[in-house]
């Protein structure tokens, strides 16, 4: 099953809108946006434009922080994290494509705290699905989706971005 193109652009509009209102409500002026490799970076690239964020887009590869390294081993295609600016006392928007168990976000936050001490972190995801295993909730969501056990939703890209649901 493939989601329609219009669903994706609608989802982007939703996240962007929710992010704007969250930033406004918290009175955050100059946030730093960080995308999680690989799908989260694609989503962040577009949100970075849509929200006209000043600071350059940063990227995070959480492979070295995963809690399942000992079970699945390392992906040889790890991309370097790129966080050239100090995140101390800055407001962070952390972006991923799909929020599922919450383990990726936990790993990403662990990694971020090795770079510094941010003032706050806002979590934005294009798709939120059921199946959380950790108490992690998003602040801005493009699309909520419920899947059967054994089903997986995946963002494919970078151009065009498409969502596909597969059975594993």
């Amino acid at each position: 099953m493939n989601a329609k193109k219009s669903d994706i652009s609608q989802a982007f509009d939703h996240v962007a809108q929710k992010l704007r209102s969250t930033l406004e409500a918290r009175n955050i002026q100059d946030p730093i946006m960080i995308g999680i490799h690989t799908g989260g970076v694609w989503v962040a690239q577009q949100l970075h434009l849509q929200l006209s964020i000043n600071e350059p887009l940063c990227t995070l590869d959480i492979s070295f922080y995963r809690d399942d390294f000992t079970r699945i081993g390392m992906n040889p295609q790890v991309k370097p994290s790129s966080l050239p600016l100090s995140i101390d006392d800055r407001h962070i928007i952390l972006v991923d494509d799909v929020l599922y168990t919450g383990r990726t976000i936990r790993a990403a936050m662990n990694e971020l705290f090795d770079y510094g001490r941010p003032a706050s972190i806002i979590l934005a995801v294009l798709v939120e699905r059921d199946g959380r295993e950790l108490p992690i909730q998003p602040d801005a969501v493009g699309l909520h989706i419920s899947l059967q056990t054994g089903e997986q939703i995946k963002l494919q890209g970078p151009t065009p971005l498409t969502l596909s649901i597969t059975r594993v």
């Binding site: 790890v78 994290s81 383990r103 090795d114 770079y115």
Partner: protein
Amino acid sequence: MKKKNRLQLDDNGKLKHFLTIEGLNRQMLIDILDTAESFTSITEQNIKKVPLLRGKTIVNLFFEASTRTRTTFELAAKRLSADVLNINIQASATAKGETLLDMLRNLEAMHCDMFVVRHADSGAAHFIAQHAAPHISVINAGDGQHAHPTQAMLDMFTIRREKGEFHRLNVAIVGDIRHSRVARSQIHALSMLGVEDIRIIAPKTLVPTEPDAFGVHVYHDLRKGLRDVDVVIMLRLQKERMSGGSLPSEHEYFQLYGLTEEKLALAKSDVTVMHPGPINRGVEIDSEVADGPRSVILQQVSHGIAVRMAVMSMAMQSHLTNTSGGAR
């Protein structure tokens, strides 16, 4: 060699031990370089550590003195959050008559996960890998005149960073090739990665007995050999060779084979000068060159940490194979 290959890789073709470049395919070498590349961003972190090998114990088993190699292995292990034990064998129980195998059994009983081995005998790391318990990975940190594969990989990493690609490069290795485990590993890695012109430049007494087996071009004249090279790797002249009669005096060696700015001018204008260290200033390399703009000798040291992190984490993951999937 087939046997070595089988020993280094697990049933899934993943790296289990890292003993020699021989028997590893090009993709494996590229995976090591790529993984090392991703570890370089850790130096940008306030906390220069990743939790990858938390709870693992790595033993530096050094039967031969070394400062640079041991400290960079130790730093690499610590940046992976492993616990590190440094054992200096000259001062340990083997000196009291304990056999190597007994010592291994004792370290295994302490639940160690990896041995990093430096030994004066060729084949020592291989022997330890053969006899260690199955959950233990062994990394060769230099064995006799045989191999020094992490040094070779950090040199490949440095060349790739400087030059981008390996094809069409002319790489010259200068010095005591015959007795050098570094040169041996470098030649295997360079040719596996596709370097077309590998040159060795040395006096007749320091050329390997069977240079053809390596597929290299041999030069005895430094000036001729340096012509148009992209990369020149200087080897340390081991002073102990001097007494063996295979060499004239240091002064004469420097005249003939020492790298000076004047000789370096024969190479390409963007030539990269490398040296595995420690350098003998005024013997194989002039200070002006070692400290000059073409030298990447200190970058090699930094790269050594990232490459050793890559090799250690790759080897460690192989015996943790449980294929249950990860979750996002």
